[in-house]
């Protein structure tokens, strides 16, 4: 059963990244996602990037599905089901939030729910940085691989520096798997708790098809946000499965 929502506004956020605003009566938690169907084209998972009455998906153009979505206009419709999955668990104490690329879309409503988090917004280059001006309540640090804005280097390198300087209660992170793997290493090294939101190829979105699984955990239902489990996931950042289920 899909709900049809109307796109009320489209915002250009960064290179190849747009936010689609719509109204919907569901009540997602930060870190949860929806399956978005474009009839006749494709269906794919999208994290909620704006919660509240006016909701939003922030979408990076990747392939056919997301390109078709980028071609939509206000007034066009989206078919959605969800919210699905386990979102972030908000815990008291100092928080370090590390987002890489479109991973910031997933983290944004979390950041707005935390009291005064330290946030790293990372991307390869300046024009791919997402939500640099969005957060009033956070200490935002930028990082780019090429140094075109903020810290020059990987998000993990900046994170290591900040972990050296301050004791954090929790790391929240979302982004490319190599970055996540790096953050899990840091969490282990600095003995900090961590929650990371993972992305895997999804077919059903409801926990029955096994296509999104990593080390026996279904990203769509057991995740997308994982915590303790991350330390034992030897497939993280190493093994992916294609649509056939074959390891790549």
């Amino acid at each position: 059963m899909y709900r049809v929502v109307k796109i009320e506004e489209i915002i250009d956020e960064a290179k190849d990244i747009k936010t689609f605003k719509f109204r919907d009566s569901s009540s997602p938690l930060p870190g949860q996602f929806y399956m978005v169907w474009l009839p006749g084209i494709d269906e794919f998972p999208m994290s909620i990037s704006h919660i509240g009455v006016m909701k939003g998906f922030t979408v990076k153009k990747i392939g056919a599905g997301t390109s078709a979505m980028h071609a939509l206009n206000p007034g066009d419709k989206l078919w959605i089901r969800g919210p699905y999955g386990r979102g972030f668990e908000i815990v008291d104490g100092t928080a370090l939030v590390v987002g890489g690329g479109s991973g910031m879309a997933t983290l944004a409503p979390l950041i707005e729910s935390l009291p005064e988090p330290d946030v790293i917004i990372a991307a390869r280059t300046a024009d791919e940085l997402l939500f640099t001006n969005r957060f009033k309540n956070a200490n935002v640090h930028l990082a780019t691989d090429d140094g075109s804005a903020g810290f020059k280097g990987f998000a993990t390198q900046l994170a290591a520096k900040m972990l050296d300087e301050k004791k954090y209660e929790m790391i929240y992170t979302c982004g490319p798997e190599p970055m996540l793997l790096g953050m899990v290493e840091l969490a282990r090294r600095y003995d900090v708790k961590i929650q990371a939101s993972l992305e895997r190829l999804m077919k059903c979105g409801i926990g029955i098809c096994d296509s999104c699984s990593i080390n026996g955990y279904r990203v769509c239902v057991d995740g997308p946000v994982f915590s303790e489990e991350l330390f034992s996931m030897d497939e993280l950042g190493r093994v992916r499965r294609g649509p056939s289920g074959k390891k790549m």
Partner: protein, 301 residues
């Protein structure tokens, strides 16, 4: 109390994971085994890697009635599957390797590979309702069914289970064609579809899919009851089992064990442990000592 034996294979309880649900990767199957399943049927595996259909591949009916799926027999191919089975077998419960093909030779070769990988039985998918050239398209051709079953039987030592389609007016005839099988698995999904009226098109990218879940339980129970009356072959019941009572219903109809798929959507992977608990409570309340006493109990002659 709950252990059953089918073709000499011991299951600690009669609740087996159905093919195609959470059984693509070895790690997931291992997790299901640890979550209490009595046994596990693998995803149906073919000779070659297959990506399956594009999304949407699943449509959820409202009110927990069930789902319609057209995954499209996505699978990594038999060669890549040994690695998954190696991991799954660590779970210590019987693993049944499901295979699909379009000729007797193909089935026989796949079954042989499965046996080499160490499965306890093979299940022949003669019943997927939405893949052209496979599944029920093969499974309603009685001559071909007979050939496939006999080719597989002469190729492997492990028991051979034939999974049959309910989408036919000749279930008895098909079962008779598959009579060399060591067990019948009844039923696969019921061919169906859903249209999204706002999108003005079918939801599934393949249009047609297979209906599973609570909706099809009456069809599955009927198939088991009907076939149990006419054949001595053990039957594995499947279709819509979501509670201990559902499992008992299937066993009373004539099933020696059951498989569970869509219920995981509603109850999570703890479904196995919970349903086993429900069966046990019912048996105790009703003064029945072994779950196997239920088999065929509701048959009226």
């Amino acid at each position: 109390m709950l252990s059953v034996s089918v073709n000499g294979i011991q299951f600690r309880n009669p609740l087996i994971l159905a093919s195609g649900i959470l059984d693509e990767s070895g790690a997931t199957m291992l997790r299901i085994a640890r979550a209490g399943a009595g046994g596990i049927v693998t995803k149906s595996v073919g000779a070659k890697e297959r990506a399956g259909y594009g999304n949407p591949v699943v449509y959820e009916l409202p009110h927990e009635r069930g789902i319609i799926n057209a995954i499209g027999l996505a699978n990594p191919g038999i060669d890549a599957y040994g690695e998954e089975l190696r991991i799954a077998l660590q779970g210590g419960v019987p693993i049944i390797g499901s295979v699909f093909g379009s000729t007797a030779e193909e089935f026989a070769a796949l079954a042989k590979k499965m046996e080499e990988y160490g499965v306890h039985a093979v299940e022949l998918n003669l019943s997927c309702p939405h893949a052209s050239g496979y599944g029920m398209e093969v499974g309603v051709d009685k001559k071909l069914v007979r050939e496939i079953v006999s080719a597989v039987k002469s190729e492997v030592q492990v028991p051979v289970w034939a999974k049959l389609t309910p989408n036919t007016h000749d279930l008895r005839g098909i079962a008779a064609a598959a009579e060399d099988a060591d067990a019948f698995v009844l039923i696969n999904t019921v061919r169906g579809m859903a249209i999204d009226i706002n999108a003005r098109r079918p939801v599934l990218s393949n249009a047609y899919g297979g209906l599973s879940g609570p909706c099809i339980k009456p069809v599955g129970v009927r198939a088991v009851y009907e076939i149990a009356r006419e054949f001595d072959t053990p039957i594995i019941g499947v279709g819509g089992i979501t509670t201990g009572e559902d499992a008992i219903e299937y066993m009373m109809a004539g099933a020696s064990a059951v498989q569970i798929g869509t219920a995981i959507l509603y109850r999570g992977i703890n479904a196995f442990r919970e349903i086993a608990g429900e069966i046990e409570s019912w048996l105790i309340e009703n003064g029945i000592e072994k779950v196997s006493e239920l088999v065929g109990m509701a048959q009226v002659r």
